[in-house]
């Protein structure tokens, strides 16, 4: 499964590249010392090398002439693959080991943390090399191989953007945890692991199972692609279904979803909707045809091209209209309003502050009390960064928060997004973020009700200070800002 002869040849033939990479690592290590920047640079280089080195080492697979030479040597395909992968991973990993070792000594990192960190990064290097090699071999030529690496690497980001735009447009509150998309990208998981090295979480292994899963799946796919590969594919257009055809359709579908979601944002009429997006659709269609030209390496036009595009456009538009009609498929209500340990922040701007508040301020600060930049913040269980245990929010406060939330949902689906006066931010105890824009300000009676709840604070800010509203309607000064207002 491993060819010593091939590995030795790789070492010999790429000796200048290896010397260069190791020299950079050494200089980086010596130059940066305890500096985290040096580690970040080396981590970045490690990731970049997991892209570049496989493209170099496995380039022969895409060269019509080179396949004759490489696939006729007396080394089995399995051994060629394993040896190539080990070489690529080692080339990406060893420079990092050098820099990290210097860093570990300078920082006094314990031996267990040091060893665990190195194992984690070894796993990262192997996973990324195997994953990127697998993508590189999807293509039938070097250019397509690089395109496939780029396309599949960026795809999770495009998916995330499409989901964000869709949720932003159709789901009031938009409180969905999109962090799962990060698990579609080994590069995102790997980056997370690199940054763990600067945290106390150096020994945190929460991302490891996902990475091992990526390694196992991509290793299997790579094995099938390489060992069973028809070498005559070299230097021909990439026609496998999971190369250009899948990539083009996925991107077209996601971009169409973004477009239909974005344009539906303003809830324009169907006629306006069509006229507004026509030119954008036309531009995307041109890009789609160009992508087909790159795929086929020739001018290609068939009735299937516009047909697929029109079907995808109709599907995404239909999907958007369905989302609009069903209030985000009912997902706006998929929210745990009994979550009493979540964080709630209700925030109103100056123009919508009840007169009772401004009057109370004038009583304290005098007639020229600042009310231009006035705002009221009702916060419950706000994360202040300390370890204060969270309090149960009272039933009446929960009911009030729910009232404002429902008002926000109604306002969202009314088709008006301008002129909101109040925001409600909710972070549920499981970490989901919800955001609602509300047309009206916070009623004074509601503020007094909130003020009764020890779990809730009603804070009034102006340029001169910060006050807390008391249940009896008085204001208690919390902070007086310096150099703003002077009192006699």
């Amino acid at each position: 499964m491993f060819s010593k002869e091939y590995f030795t040849y790789l070492l010999k033939s790429k000796k200048y590249l290896l010397i260069f990479i190791l020299l950079i690592a050494f200089l980086n290590a010596v130059g940066s010392g305890k500096n985290e920047i040096g580690m970040i640079i080396q981590g970045f280089l490690c990731v970049v090398l997991t892209y570049l080195i496989p493209c170099n080492v496995f380039s022969y697979v895409h060269d019509k002439k080179a396949v004759d030479t490489y696939f006729s040597i007396p080394v089995s395909r399995k051994a060629m693959l394993v040896t190539g992968i080990v070489f690529c991973a080692a080339t990406a990993y060893m420079p990092f080991v050098i820099t990290f070792s210097f860093f570990a000594v300078a920082e006094g990192i314990g031996i267990l943390s040091y060893a665990l960190a190195l194992i984690k990064i070894l796993l990262v290097a192997f996973t990324l090399v195997v994953f990127n090699t697998c993508l590189y071999l999807i293509g039938n030529n070097a250019f397509d191989g690089v395109v496939m690496i780029g396309a599949y690497t960026v795809l999770p980001a495009v998916l995330l953007t499409a989901l964000e735009i869709f949720a932003d447009s159709y789901i009031a509150g938009h409180g969905f945890d999109m962090s799962f998309v990060a698990y579609l990208s080994p590069i995102a998981i790997s980056t997370d692991l690199f940054f763990d090295l600067f945290e106390s979480s150096m020994i945190d292994i929460h991302n490891i199972p996902a990475l091992i899963l990526y390694l196992a799946v991509s290793a299997y796919l790579l094995y099938k692609q390489y060992v069973d590969r028809a070498v005559e594919r070299a230097s021909t257009p990439s026609t496998k279904i999971y190369s250009y055809p899948l990539v083009i359709y996925l991107y077209v579908f996601l971009i169409l979803l973004m477009i239909s979601s974005s344009f539906n944002y303003g809830y324009s009429s169907f006629k306006d909707f069509i006229s507004d997006i026509f030119i954008v659709y036309l531009m995307l269609f041109v890009v789609y045809v160009v992508a087909y030209f790159v795929y086929k390496r020739k001018l290609y036009f068939s009735y299937k091209l516009p047909l697929v595009f029109i079907i995808a456009a109709l599907l995404t538009t239909g999907f958007s209209f369905a989302a609009r009609s069903t209030k985000g498929f009912g997902l706006a209500n998929a929210y745990d309003h009994n979550d009493r340990l979540g964080q709630y922040i209700l925030y109103s701007y100056a123009d919508y502050i009840p007169s009772e508040i401004t009057e109370a301020l004038k009583e304290i600060e005098g007639a020229d009390a600042y009310d231009t930049y006035l705002n009221v913040v009702v916060s419950a269980n706000e994360n202040k960064g300390d370890n204060t245990p969270k309090r149960q929010i009272s039933d009446s406060s929960m009911a009030l928060f729910e009232k404002y939330r429902k008002s926000g949902i109604a306002y969202f689906y009314s088709g008006q997004r301008e002129g909101q006066s109040t925001n409600l931010n909710v972070i549920s105890s499981n970490g989901n973020h919800y955001y609602y824009g509300i047309k009206e300000g916070i009623a004074y009676s509601d503020m007094l009700e909130f003020a009764k709840d020890p779990a809730v604070s009603v804070i009034i800010n102006n340029n001169s200070g910060e006050y807390k509203l008391q249940p009896d309607g008085s204001l208690k000064l919390l902070t007086l800002y310096m150099n703003t207002v002077t009192y006699d």
Binding site: Y9, K12, S13, D68, T69, I73, P74, D228
Partner: protein, 291 residues
Amino acid sequence: MLEINKVVKGFDGKKVLDGVNLTIDGGSIFGLVGVNGAGKTTLLRCISGIYMTDEGNVLFDGRDTFKQEEIRRDIFFANDDPYYPLASNIRSLKEFCASFYPLDEQMYQKTLKLFNLSENQQINTFSKGMKRQTLLLFALSIKPKLLLLDEAFDGLDPLVRYNLKKALYDFIEENHSTIIISSHNLKELEDICDSYGILENGKISTYGDLLESKQNINKYQLAFTAPIDESVFDQFTILHMHKEGSVYSLVIKGDKEETVAKLQELHPVILDTLSVNFEELFIYEHEGGER
């Protein structure tokens, strides 16, 4: 011994090799001929274990050349358009070859001298002929038991061709290796090959000892005093016939003496017998096959 057993290989649903069967004994120089696109290079790639066959297998000394990689240490495939890494020279290629094959330094130095090549000159500055010689330098230096030469004589000047043929003779004599040469230059093949095979319609249509085959196909010129009924020739395996007045030029496959005796019975006023060369043999076999 090389055994090619019912090898089928196709591309994009089109079968290029359609059940090729062939056995080549050790120590033989085998000329593989066929028209352009007949599948000669595909067959050589199947033999060298580069291509995975769709059906059938190729055994060399009893071992599968695709599945049993260790046998490829005894096989060298010199293709018609060799690959040379960017900025490589003969020295760096030697490093590559020596990593995987048992390279004979003495043979290397001898062939390097014979071809008059510089070890340190970059290959991309070489002419087509020099590039081909470079590949042949390694082909001979690793002393494979099976040497596959694709379009071996293309792009070589007469002196180099002479040197190459000489090197191959010496190589065979010393190593008792098998050489398969595919080429369109049948005159060159005729000089060097002892056996041949014609690849046609995805199959080996004709193969055998070159000398025997040449003796078995002859050209006969006959002249008659009066027109004759051409059905009298039906008794012969005619590969080619040309008539001008009452003079016939026939290429007949079959024992020469028997054929002459039968032709004499037709009482021609003139009967001349001429031997054919390899190129004519290929053309007439090809015509005969099409007929």
